[in-house]
């Protein structure tokens, strides 16, 4: 208990506080820029955390994640341009309300709902994760292999339109994860004599290369075609409307429903924010007393989608912290950040890095409060970001990527890796090969390899010993059924 209390105090230190504030601001700003989104903001922010203490670094990235969630709503509401697929649900009511002369009300509804949904899921995470980690610690390599198999089956739903390409992306990511020293024999694999590769591919360089740089290159190509027309941009100064707290309280059922849906979906790897946002919207339409108003600028619609998609982010850390399995792209990038700071996510984190994990919980709550405060105070300023011309933003973000990787990874080698993966990422983007599956394959690859190798060693002398692992057997048996369900409904479930 003392450790938990000390960790909470650590999170309240000035350094961590300022890191979280900076992260929230970066997240809102980048999330609000049309064409950029929260995962890209995290990828760009990772190099900035290299010199920070682990808690300050992770706190900053959590701030970016939460800020980016609200930032995405700004572009969706004012510009009708969702930065991420899940923000498309917010545009359904957000933009009509803004166009109807109430942009501030739309943004405030999004902000309050987002923070409320996020806080609910964080609370579930804080209450549930330590207990689940105790159970996860009892799992051996066989159980872990089974959990990974079913998680991968769920993550396959992120594969976009082509399942074949999605599996290929995950396989390629897992293959590239084998670069470096073999964990069992300590012999180098695919290092080509380069000492820099002995620790594996630099994850930050790969993530920025494959995720952020190709998107910017694409935006550079689109040029003026992507520039929003002045007539379609709405600014809060146009309307003197506000959302009274009493009015927001009338949305509490919608918000809690959205938070519940988002938390449940976020706790399962792979299902994603888009499904949560649209399911919550559909549920609200079903239970609403005035369903005909949804889609015409109803605050209920904004609250439903924003509370649900924000709730996913906190809940996504449940499989990450208890099993070490990232459920989506943001969580996969956070794994990279954890590893960079010498922390391995998984059930042991509650024993080895107790102060860090409880500090993280405190930082998450702090980030929610900061999103609320910074978002409320800077609503007009952040709304102006959507008006900044793209020919100013994209060149600067590209330079930031290059400089960030150079300074954090110590030289041109990492920049070379980043550019190589930028080429790969660009082709993947154009050929509709899932980058999400690639990153998750890259992050999960070593864990899958190790657990399978350990399982084989354990079971090699007596294959019948698999029957001593009933939990694993159930999961292995359920995997084909889950796969069949997902393939059937993949288009509906897919984030891409």
């Amino acid at each position: 208990m003392d450790i938990i209390f000390a960790a909470m105090l650590d999170a309240l230190s000035l350094t961590t506080f300022l890191s979280v504030v900076l992260g929230v601001m970066i997240g809102i700003v980048i999330g609000a820029v049309p064409g950029l989104n929260a995962p890209m903001a995290i990828a760009v922010a990772i190099p900035l955390t290299f010199t920070m203490a682990p808690l300050a670094a992770i706190g900053m990235l959590v701030g970016v994640m939460k800020g980016g969630g609200f930032g995405g709503a700004i572009g969706a509401i004012l510009l009708n341009t969702p930065g991420e697929p899940h923000s498309a649900a917010t545009t359904l009511d957000g933009h009509p309300l803004a166009r109807g002369g109430k942009p501030r009300k739309a943004l405030q509804t999004a902000l309050y709902s987002s923070v409320a949904g996020d806080s609910c899921s964080d609370l579930v995470l804080i209450l549930l994760a330590p207990t689940l980690a105790v159970f996860a610690l009892r799992a051996g390599p066989v159980e872990l292999a089974a959990i990974l198999v079913i998680s991968l089956t769920l993550i396959a739903s992120l594969s976009g339109r082509s399942l074949t390409k999605g599996i290929f992306a995950a396989a390629l990511g897992a293959f590239l994860a084998t670069v470096g020293v073999d964990p069992e024999t300590a012999s180098p694999r695919f290092t080509f004599g380069q000492v820099e590769l002995f620790d594996g591919l630099p994850l930050a360089a790969v993530a920025i290369g494959v995720l952020a740089v190709p998107e910017i290159i694409l935006r550079l190509q689109e040029g003026r075609r992507h520039r929003p027309e002045a007539t379609s941009v709405v600014t809060p100064s146009e309307g003197d409307d506000r959302l009274p707290f009493r009015e927001f309280l009338t949305l509490r059922r919608t918000v809690f429903r959205g938070a519940g849906i988002g938390t449940a979906i976020g706790a399962l790897p792979g299902l994603g924010t888009t499904l949560a946002a649209f399911l919550s919207y559909a549920a609200t339409k079903r239970f609403s007393t005035a369903p005909e108003k949804l889609g015409t600028g109803a605050t209920e619609g904004i609250a439903a989608t924003e509370s649900a998609n924000s709730a996913v982010s906190g809940a996504n850390l449940i499989p990450l912290l208890t099993l070490g399995i990232p459920g989506n792209l943001t969580a996969a990038l956070l794994v990279g950040a954890f590893l960079i700071h010498g922390v391995t996510p998984g059930p042991l984190i509650f024993q080895r890095d107790t102060s860090l994990v409880y500090g993280l919980f405190a930082a998450m709550i702090m980030a929610n409060v900061m999103v609320l405060i910074i978002g409320s105070l800077g609503l007009r300023v952040f709304a102006l970001i959507v008006k900044v011309p793209p020919f100013v933003i994209y060149p600067i973000v590209l330079l930031l990527c290059v400089v960030g990787i150079y300074v954090s990874q110590g030289g041109f080698f990492a920049v070379g890796v980043m550019l190589t993966f930028a080429v790969l990422g660009f082709f993947m983007l154009k050929l509709e090969i899932s980058i999400v599956c690639f990153i998750i394959g890259l992050v999960l690859g070593p864990m899958i390899e190790l657990s399978i190798r350990q399982s084989v060693i354990l079971l090699s002398r007596n294959p019948a010993a698999i029957f001593d692992h009933p939990f694993a057997l159930v999961l292995f048996a359920a995997s084909p059924f889950v796969a069949w369900l997902l393939i059937r409904d993949r288009n509906r479930l897919s984030d891409g």
Binding site: L220, Y394, P395, L400, V402, L419
Partner: protein, 168 residues
């Protein structure tokens, strides 16, 4: 409806996913018969050899490449799930990468020649930003000035004083 060269001004080419499938299969074979044997040493392994996972994944990728080829041939090169890639895309990508590489070279060379700390950044970054802006669009003059002067200054200040990270 995907052909590698379907951009305006391009000649018609073979289906993108057919080429992608062939590239994946060839890449996997290259891994299986050349790179993995040359780069992974299985000697002295306890349990499963270190090359098992890379081999298994390479075989999986080869199989998926074959599935892509078969699927594309089945649809007669008109696969609705195929991506879209044009020669213009490839040219644009090459241009952007070239601009970044040139910026880095300028940073390195200038840094060596002048021999003053961060001189490479101060010369290379504005040139790089001007090049990126030029690639994006014909922006107004103030945008070039802002990107060339204000942006590097803010980035420098942020990294050096804010994060205490030395720039190239």
């Amino acid at each position: 409806m995907s052909h590698f060269s379907k951009g305006p001004g391009d000649a018609a080419g073979p289906a993108t996913d057919l080429i992608l499938g062939i590239v994946i299969v060839l890449f996997s074979l290259l891994l299986l018969f050349w790179i993995i044997p040359a780069q992974v040493n299985d000697a002295g392994a306890f349990g499963l050899p270190p090359s098992l996972a890379p081999r298994a994944l390479a075989w999986l990728m080869a199989g998926l490449g074959a599935v892509l080829i078969a699927g594309n041939l089945q649809h007669g090169g008109d696969d609705p799930l195929a991506g879209k890639l044009t020669w213009q895309d490839t040219g644009h990508l090459a241009l952007c990468i070239l601009a970044v590489v040139l910026m880095l070279i300028v940073m390195g060379v200038v840094g060596d020649v002048i021999g003053r700390p961060y001189s490479g950044f101060w010369i290379g970054a504005p040139l790089g930003l001007i090049a990126f802006t030029l690639i994006h669009t014909r922006a107004p003059l103030w945008a070039y000035a802002f990107n060339a002067l204000a942006a590097p200054a803010v980035i420098y200040a942020g990294f050096w004083w804010g994060l205490e990270l030395p720039l190239p």
